[in-house]
Symmetry: C2
Subunit: 330 residues, 2 copies
C-alpha cells in the first residue's frame, strides 16, 4: 500500500507537504499541489486511517449500539443513520450489544475506535450513555428518553402518543378498552402506557387488570393476548397495542376466532410501520418519525463531536395519527 512518503518521492516534495495537500492547507503553491495530487492518484493513494487517528486522537467514526436489529423499525433507523454519517464523512461502527452497560461501546471509545456513540438500544436503565458521557464522550440516545441521563436525546414523544391514542379511542365512544403492551424494562412501551393511563385517569375510565396484558414486542405476544381476551369475557370496544407487530398478532388471533375488525372490536397499533398500511392489516397507528429521529440524532452528535459543549438537549418529535380501517368510523 502506498504511503505519503511514496507520494512525496514521486512528486518530488517532502512528505509533510503531501500531508498539507491532503488536509487542504492553503499555504501550498498551486503548482506543487497539482504535482502532489497527480502523484496521489497515480498511486491510488489513500491515507492510512490508523496513523491519522493516532496522530490526531480522532477516529472520524461513530459507533452505533444496537440490541434490536430484528425490530421492524430498526432498518429505517440504521439506513438513515448510515446515510447521515456518510454525508459528514464519518465512518460507522456497529455493535450488536444487548448489555445495558454497553461494554462494547466503552471499549470502542476508550480504544479510540470511535469519537461518539449513538445509542439505539431499547432497554431501560442502561448505564452506558451516562458512563460514557461522564468521560466526556459525545453521546446521543435515539428513540428513548431516559430520566436522569445527562446526555442528548432524540425521541418521539411516547408519553404524548399514548395520551393521544387513548383520547382518540375515547373520543369515538370506545370507553371499554383493553391494552396489550410490550416489555416493562423497555422504554417506549411503558411511556406509551403511562400516557394512556394519564388520559384514562383524567376521564375516569377504568381498565381491568385482566385486560392489560404485558409481554414482549412480538407477533406472538399479540396472538397469545387475543386468546386471553377471548377467554376473559366480552370483547372490549377497542384494543390498544403499544407496538404494531403486537397488533398484527392480535388481529390474526381475533380473526381466527371469528371476531371482526372493526365491527366487533377496534384495534390500534403504535409505530407506524409501512406494513401497517397493507390491506391485510389496514391498521390505525401512530407514525413515529424514525427517519427524522435518526437525522436529528446524528446532527446533534456531530455538533457535540465538533466541540459543542452547550446544555444537554432533549428533542421530542411528535407522532402522527394514521387512521385506517381497523378503527374505521363513519
Amino acid at each position: 500500500m502506498a504511503t505519503s512518503r511514496d507520494v512525496a518521492r514521486i512528486a518530488g516534495v517532502s512528505q509533510p507537504t503531501v500531508s498539507r495537500v491532503l488536509n487542504g492547507n492553503p499555504r501550498v503553491a498551486e503548482e506543487i499541489r497539482q504535482r502532489v495530487v497527480q502523484a496521489m492518484d497515480e498511486l491510488g493513494y489513500i491515507p492510512n486511517t490508523s496513523a491519522k487517528a493516532m496522530r490526531t486522537a480522532r477516529s472520524g467514526a461513530v459507533g452505533i449500539v444496537a440490541s434490536e436489529i430484528l425490530n421492524p423499525y430498526f432498518p429505517r433507523l440504521l439506513d438513515t443513520l448510515t446515510r447521515e454519517a456518510r454525508a459528514r464523512d464519518l465512518g460507522v461502527v456497529l455493535w450488536n450489544d444487548a448489555d445495558p452497560a454497553a461494554p462494547m461501546a466503552e471499549a470502542g471509545v476508550k480504544g479510540g475506535v470511535v469519537d461518539g456513540v449513538v445509542f439505539t438500544a431499547v432497554l431501560a436503565g442502561g448505564q452506558g450513555p451516562t458512563l460514557l458521557a461522564e468521560h466526556g464522550v459525545p453521546v446521543v440516545v435515539v428513540n428513548r428518553a431516559e430520566a436522569n441521563c445527562p446526555v442528548d436525546h432524540v425521541t418521539s414523544d411516547h408519553e404524548a402518543t399514548g395520551y393521544a391514542s387513548a383520547a382518540y379511542l375515547l373520543d369515538h365512544g370506545r370507553s371499554d378498552l383493553a391494552v396489550v403492551a410490550g416489555p416493562r424494562d423497555s422504554l417506549a412501551s411503558p411511556a406509551r402506557e403511562h400516557g394512556l393511563r394519564r388520559c384514562l385517569d383524567e376521564r375516569g375510565v377504568q381498565v381491568g387488570e385482566e385486560r392489560w396484558l404485558v409481554g414482549t414486542t412480538s407477533y406472538e405476544h399479540g396472538l397469545a393476548a387475543s386468546e386471553r381476551l377471548l377467554r376473559s369475557g366480552p370483547m372490549p370496544g377497542a384494543v390498544y397495542c403499544t407496538a404494531d407487530v403486537i397488533a398484527f398478532g392480535l388481529m390474526s388471533g381475533l380473526r381466527r376466532n371469528g371476531v371482526r375488525i372493526p365491527e366487533d372490536v377496534w384495534v390500534m397499533g403504535n409505530d407506524g410501520l409501512p406494513m401497517a398500511a397493507w390491506d391485510a392489516f389496514d391498521l390505525t397507528t401512530q407514525r413515529q418519525p424514525v427517519e427524522e429521529m435518526a437525522q436529528r440524532g446524528l446532527e446533534l452528535l456531530a455538533q457535540r463531536m465538533a466541540g459543542d459543549a452547550g446544555a444537554t438537549r432533549r428533542v421530542l418529535l411528535p407522532t402522527a395519527l394514521e387512521v385506517r380501517g381497523s378503527t374505521a368510523h363513519a
Copy 2:
C-alpha cells in the same frame, strides 16, 4: 486516556512487558503478570486500537457492504454477521453503499480500516469484490453468486430453488402459471427465474409474456402485478413470485378484487420471511437459510483473514419448501 506506559509505571515494569501481558506472551513471570493486570484494571486501561493497527498492519475489523438495509431479509443477515464477528473479536464497519464499484469498501481497505469485506449488496455486475480480491484482500460475497468473480461465495441456490418451485407447482397440476419477478439487474431474482424457466422448458410448459411481470422487489410491484393479471385474461392456476414481499402485495391486490387464495389461484413466494407464516399471508415459500449464510460467510472470511490461500470456494445452501395455505392441497 491511560496508555501502556501509564500501566507500566504503576506496575513498576517496562512498557513492552505490558504489551506482552496484553498479548498473552507466555514468557512473563506470573508475579509480574499479576501486577500488570492489576494496574490495568486500576486504570481502566484499554489499548489504543489505532496504534496497534498501525504497528501490526491489521485492523481487526471487517467491513460490510450493504445497499439493501431496508430489504426484509437484511436484518437477519446483519444480526448474524455482527454476532459472528463479535464471537471472533472482530469489529464491524458498515458501509451503506449502492455503488456497484463499492468505493467505500475500497477506501476502507486501502485506508486500513478493515482487514476483510463482506458483500451483501444485491446488484449484479458489481466490480467491487473482484477489484478488492485482485488486491489480495479477503472478500466474501453473501447471497449472490456472480459468474466470473474469483472470490468466495456463500449463497442459497437460487437457480435450484426456482426449479424446485416450478416443479412443486407443476406436480400439483398447476400448469398455467404466471410469474412476478424482481429486478433484472439483481442477482437472486434472475437466477430464480432461470431455474423456473429450465423446469418449464423441460416439461414443455409455456408462459405468455403478459404473464411474466418484472419489476422491483416490493409490495407495490405485487399490487400492480395483480391488476395487470386481472386485466390480461382468466386467472392462472398459480402465481410464482420471486420474493415474499411481492407475493404479499399480489395477494392483497387479488383479494381486493374478490379473488380467493388458494381456491381461485395459488400463490407462492420465495425467501421464507418469518412473516410469511402469519395468518394474514399463510404463504407457501422457499425458506432461505439466511442465518446459516451469514455464519458460513463470516467463517470463510475469517479463514481467509487468517491466511488461508486455498482455492476459491462457492457454498450453495439449499432452501426449504414451506407449504402453507396459499397453495393448500388436500
